[in-house]
């Protein structure tokens, strides 16, 4: 088995130490850092994502693999040029005002970080103005909004409206929403650009959007 395949398997099996060792070995062998990422680490997490989609793996396993991926990425990062990664992007993320549930948001943050995205986590109970200010300051590719209850998801339209008013949304900055009480039709109704019902699906969706 080649080293890429070994790496990919190690990510899938969430063997953190092995991923770290193999990534170093690959670099020592003179392989290009971006190839190690694209051909070794990423295929591993993609398999994990697919298995999650098919109900063969569950959140804890996915998180362990994400951790392994992140470890490998940590080894590579000093050697990667920004333009090396085909899918990178920046995500501003937070739980909306009046809501303090952060588990879902934290999972989303973790999956995106592990996949090489830059995540700016605004925390919980984030006011609409703060989302807008962060959009202005960080110029992200995506703004992610999370909520636990129907009473708090009702803050989302206001954020979208404010972003539109300031011209901060468009093809370069899209709003992605999620959380337990949300669904596709609510997302469409409030004019969100994207909706995902899990952190894993969110990563897939964003990757697709960026490569489209």
């Amino acid at each position: 088995m080649g080293i890429y395949q070994l790496l990919s398997r190690a990510v899938e099996a969430a063997e953190v130490d092995r991923v770290e060792k193999l990534t170093r070995t690959a670099l020592d062998e003179g392989l290009a850092p971006n190839d190690v990422l694209d051909n070794g680490l990423m295929p591993g997490i993609e398999v994990v994502g697919e298995k999650f989609g098919r109900g063969e793996l569950f959140i804890p396993e996915v998180m362990m693999s994400a951790r392994a991926l992140q470890t490998g990425l940590g080894v590579l990062r000093p050697f990667l040029k920004v333009e090396d990664t085909s899918f990178k992007g920046k995500l501003v993320l937070g739980t909306v005002a009046g809501d303090i549930h952060d588990l879902g948001k934290n999972l989303v943050a973790m999956m995106f970080t592990a996949n090489g995205y830059e995540v700016i986590d605004l925390g919980v109970d984030v006011s609409s103005e703060k989302f807008v200010a962060a959009a202005e300051e960080h110029q992200p590719d995506f703004i992610g909004l999370s909520a636990l209850l129907t009473t708090t998801m009702s803050r989302m339209p206001e954020i979208i409206r404010l972003l539109d008013e300031r011209g901060l949304r468009g093809n370069t900055c899209r709003v992605i929403v999620g959380g337990a009480p949300l669904n596709e039709s609510f997302a469409a109704e409030i004019g969100a650009d994207l909706y995902a019902d899990s952190a894993i699906e969110a990563v897939n969706l964003v990757r697709k959007t960026l490569s489209a």
Partner: protein, 226 residues
């Protein structure tokens, strides 16, 4: 206020796995995760402060609400495991231990439901003593009752004892601590309509209930044998 010791709270692994999304796939849990689940369940037991409270009120002023139209009295209750577990979950995420964080959080949710079961049981005990039948519990935000029902529940729980309990309702109708559950139960001499059908999952009775899953014949849940 009702207070329990952490060891009085029985939540089992299958509940925790259900919260983690395994559902009927518990067999697919790997050895490593299984061990971590056990560990986090143990940790959870050191972090919970199980408390609850309920009040029983006359249903007459509530009859305009369809949910209570056939009740004589209504019990409003709330249960919590306190804040410490949530705080630990946040700390785990901050330390890059997200997997453990998720497992501990699921254990906390299972524990919160288990405490709710105990508060529920106290209501049933009270009802039985007074010769009332009861319905299963139903909660704002679940089934057909909207989250706005939280206002009604907390209106009836607004007294010093709830303050001692430490559960507050925010203007956006979120309870703090997060790991809290509120509910209502109908009481009456006649049998009453169940608000949420097919809700054995929220029933406080043992797994081995012979009527589990058979709402049509759920006698135990109406307080006959608690």
């Amino acid at each position: 206020m009702l207070v329990w010791k952490p060891e009085d709270i029985q939540f089992d692994r299958s509940e925790v796995l259900r919260y983690l999304g395994y559902g009927s796939n518990a067999a697919k849990v790997g050895v490593r995760i299984r061990k971590m689940v056990e560990q986090e369940m143990d940790t959870a037991r050191t972090l919970i402060a199980p408390r609850g409270y309920f009040r029983i009120v006359d249903a007459a002023p509530l009859r305009e609400w369809e949910y209570f139209s056939d009740a004589e009295r209504v019990a409003f209750g709330v249960a919590t495991i306190g804040e410490a577990l949530e705080t630990r979950v946040k700390a785990l995420f901050a330390a890059g231990e997200g997997t453990r964080g998720v497992l501990l959080d699921a254990a906390g949710s299972a524990a919160a439901e288990a405490v709710t079961d105990l508060v529920n049981r106290e209501v049933w005990r009270w009802a039985k003593r007074m010769g009332y039948r009861t319905t299963r519990r139903f909660s704002p935000g679940y089934g057909t009752w909207s989250v706005e029902g939280q206002e009604l529940v907390f209106q009836h729980l607004r007294d010093r004892k709830v303050e001692q309990l430490g559960v507050t309702l925010t203007p956006s109708l979120l309870m703090v601590p997060l790991k809290s559950v509120s509910f209502a139960i109908k009481l009456g001499r006649q049998s009453m309509r169940e608000v949420n059908k097919g809700r054995c999952v929220s029933c406080a009775l043992e797994e081995n209930c012979p009527f589990r899953g058979r709402d049509d014949v759920c006698r135990k849940a109406s307080g006959e044998r608690v």
